[in-house]
Symmetry: C2
Subunit: 500 residues, 2 copies
């Protein structure tokens, strides 16, 4: 009875396995590949991407999807068959609209832009980056037009990263957040001390940092039979299948927090990928929902858990044992406060929970204007600086600390930034729903037991794979929409308590 569906599943598995292979090549490139391997490696990856793209957009794929759709036309909307065909059709429709010429122009331009951005940032001169960024904006606009949209061209780009979410929804959420967040940031930032506490200065040996990070990963129930941690220039998580999900980190002898929180962050991503439904491996459903949902997992673990008082009430004594004599006189409150220092700054990736989203608002607002043509590329630095003054009350002293902050635009990733904030909002909603269902979670964490937290995520998020969209998942769990309230309340309570 399911012959057509089986045919579709077989073809999709082949496409998936090619993508998994490309991911293995990518992981190797970032971790162990010898330096001269880079050129052949790019050619290998390009070839695999080409084949998997061709297989995906081939008429045969469309035909298999259609036949399977007809066969299972009476299946429930959220059934395995209907869901996997829905996800597959969405991806197919998306990719088939983009001609090979455009895809390769984007690949070529962004490859070039990457090194131009590096150079421009080194020289702190936005004007060096502007011409290629103008090209990229043009290509993204072209992409948006081909993909199609109802209200705003930015919708099409956003949909690539966060299926189903619209620019209007993001605007509404962000506007409401601003109303609450800007006064809160002003209130808290006025009370904080800018300098780093003494106990964090000096060196923390890397073997100790690594061992402690591994201990936390173990406690988070990251499954080392299905994963491993290595080092790379920038921390990342990569998943081939739920059976093989790897994370990386980097260590800084002078910074105890950097590797630690990045390990918890990547661990959160990895738990999601390891928890995807293995019985659906190689189908369209054995995938994360979106970047936003992925980020909700990493931030829930990194921030809501990893920067909580409860977490450190258990782990500070453990940490002290990993650095004998080094942290003896530190008390929980000082450590907790240090892990939650609020500092309006220029660098998004180093920002705290409270100010983080302000960086995102700025990028989103600029991106949107770039795409609908209301802002010229050359005017970005002025716009950027103005917004930093308005939202964060600080003025970037140069382009390197200003409009050249993030590499994302050089990669053509316009429409990506909002997913970070969506992730923050969802993390708070999910955590609040989890504690509602399992009230012992906070005390479990205080006892170093993170299994209850994970079990809730497994059951309510991970095992669904990509059956739901982000909004459908939130509805399924909370009965409502993505909301700012749980997140804002979480921030207000936490930071007013710390900086009272």
């Amino acid at each position: 009875m399911t012959e057509k569906l089986d045919n579709f599943i077989k073809r999709w598995a082949r496409i998936s396995r090619l993508e998994q292979t490309a991911a293995v090549l990518g992981w190797d490139m970032e971790t162990f590949m010898p330096e001269e391997g880079v050129k052949p490696r790019s050619e290998q990856i390009a070839l695999l991407s080409e084949i998997s793209h061709q297989w995906l957009v081939a008429p045969e794929t469309r035909c298999l999807i259609e036949e399977a759709e007809n066969e299972s036309s009476d299946a429930d909307y959220f059934s395995d068959s209907a869901s996997m065909l829905r996800v597959a059709r969405r991806l197919y429709e998306q990719k088939v609209k983009l001609p090979e010429g455009l895809v390769s122009r984007i690949a070529g331009t962004t490859a070039l832009a990457n090194s131009i951005w590096i150079d421009a940032r080194k020289k702190s001169d936005f004007s060096l980056f502007a011409p290629v960024l103008e090209e990229i904006v043009g290509l993204c606009r072209e992409e948006a037009d081909l993909l199609g949209y109802q209200a705003h061209p930015y919708d099409a780009l956003l949909d690539l990263h966060e299926p189903g979410l619209t620019t209007a929804q993001v605007e509404e959420l962000f506007d409401k957040m601003k109303e609450e967040l800007l006064p809160l940031v002003r209130e808290i930032a006025g009370r904080t001390v800018q300098s780093e506490p003494d106990f964090l200065t000096g060196k923390f040996d890397i073997a100790g940092q690594e061992a402690f990070g591994l201990k936390v990963l173990h406690d988070m129930q990251y499954d080392f039979r299905r994963g491993r941690q290595d080092r790379s220039a920038h921390p990342f998580t990569t998943s081939f299948t739920p059976y093989d999900v790897r994370i990386t980190t980097r260590f800084d002898e002078n910074d105890l927090f950097s590797a630690l929180f990045s390990t918890i962050h990547e661990g959160g991503h990895a738990l999601y990928d390891q928890g995807l439904p293995v019985e659906l491996v190689d189908t369209p459903l054995c995938q994360p929902i979106s970047l936003g949902v992925h980020e909700s997992q990493s931030r829930l673990w990194e921030n809501i858990i990893g920067r909580s008082r409860g977490f450190w009430s258990h782990y500070l004594p453990v940490l002290k044992k990993f650095f004998p004599g080094r942290l003896d006189r530190v008390n929980l409150e000082d450590f907790y406060r240090a892990a939650n220092r609020v500092r309006p700054g220029f660098i998004r990736v180093e920002s705290d929970e409270l100010t983080y989203n302000l960086h995102i608002f700025i990028r989103f607002e600029i991106e949107k204007q770039l795409i609908d043509g209301t802002l010229a590329v050359k005017d970005i630095p002025g716009e950027w600086d103005g917004k930093y003054r308005d939202y964060l009350g600080i003025s970037p002293p140069n382009d390197a600390l200003g409009s050249l902050q993030d590499i994302h635009w050089a990669h053509g990733s316009i429409g990506y930034f909002p997913t970070y904030t969506i992730g923050n909002l969802m993390a708070a909603q999910l955590y609040s729903a989890a504690v509602h269902d399992i009230p012992s979670i906070p005390s479990d964490i205080e006892a170093g037991n993170m299994a209850t937290m994970l079990s809730w995520l497994r059951k309510n998020v991970h095992r669904h794979g990509s059956r739901y969209t982000c909004t459908e998942l939130v509805r399924e769990i909370t009965g409502g929409e993505i909301q700012i309230k749980p997140f804002i309340e979480y921030l207000a309570v936490k930071f007013r308590d710390i900086y009272r």
Copy 2:
């Protein structure tokens, strides 16, 4: 003028890159892959092998080869174009003859045979392995018939590993070797002491072993910008392109020599792969000639250099520094003798230079009879034991130390063993030619300078890629055929000197 050749080269590059990718997946599987990754990994590798096989045997490939052949029909036999088309056609003709059904039956049976062999060996019971080996012999015979041969079905299988070499040639070489080797082994074995010297007993810390091995690799000019060394259950070398050639080793705290000589051995393989002509990367010529030639490189470095008195006159003092206090009282002669201990034994991979080839003769003779049907699988143990008595004067006490010694047959690798001996013969011939051309090589090695040796190999072997066959290469270098004399003389002089 070379449009057709360019078309051929472009297609071949795509096939090569898929094979490189499969090799990366294989390397990862043996080194870093988490344990649960094995099933999806096999599926990824199977898919890549399927695609690259399909691309190779597609009519389009044949057509591109033919058109390019016509275009460059007046090119010299050893020119780039003629050579790459010759190699490509040989591979194409070989693969196109094997129907997909047979290929997948071989894959399925050998996958099964692998675990059956492990179990049979553990239980030391050949009869458990016999049924599946019978199937494998049948499949190899079928393969030989499809590939075609002139004199002996074994020719077809041998040709897969050592292009152009025939069973008759191997027989002639091996018969001559036996005449010289058997008396020499008897003469030397009678004079040697079986016990391990005291200074090798006890533990050698692994960090020291690793650091010394890396030092030797550096001195051999193994290029770490184009490679790396990791650990795996069995040491191996894998090459994606000359830009990325990786080796592995394993360490045994109780055995100083195991990792050391395996590192030099794999280093020899890797120098060959790193020295292949990069200007021909992704073409059929940027490949090693054959298993035999590959083995000539590893054995030249491991045995002729790595087990020479000259090498240790330089490296023993260095080694002592890596193990402070551990080897202080060892003199060069004792160490050199320990590195060249002669012990007729049951285990090929642990055997010395003098007896090694006797193990190969036995396997070759049995394989040949299996393939032409003059020996039944069930009679292997009797035949095996008889030959060990005849050639080595020892009698395997059980199947595990007898006919279940090697895993090769379980992998379907019949026709592979002779290449080990061909490698030994060639190593001696090449070394002798090198010293003729550059008389300073032995004294350079004594001074810890291996650059002259490598430069000769680069120029005379590596840079040719697969332009020549094994016999053509030997002819090019020595003006004659593969000969046993340089090897036998090398052994006689060396071991009579040690065991005088």
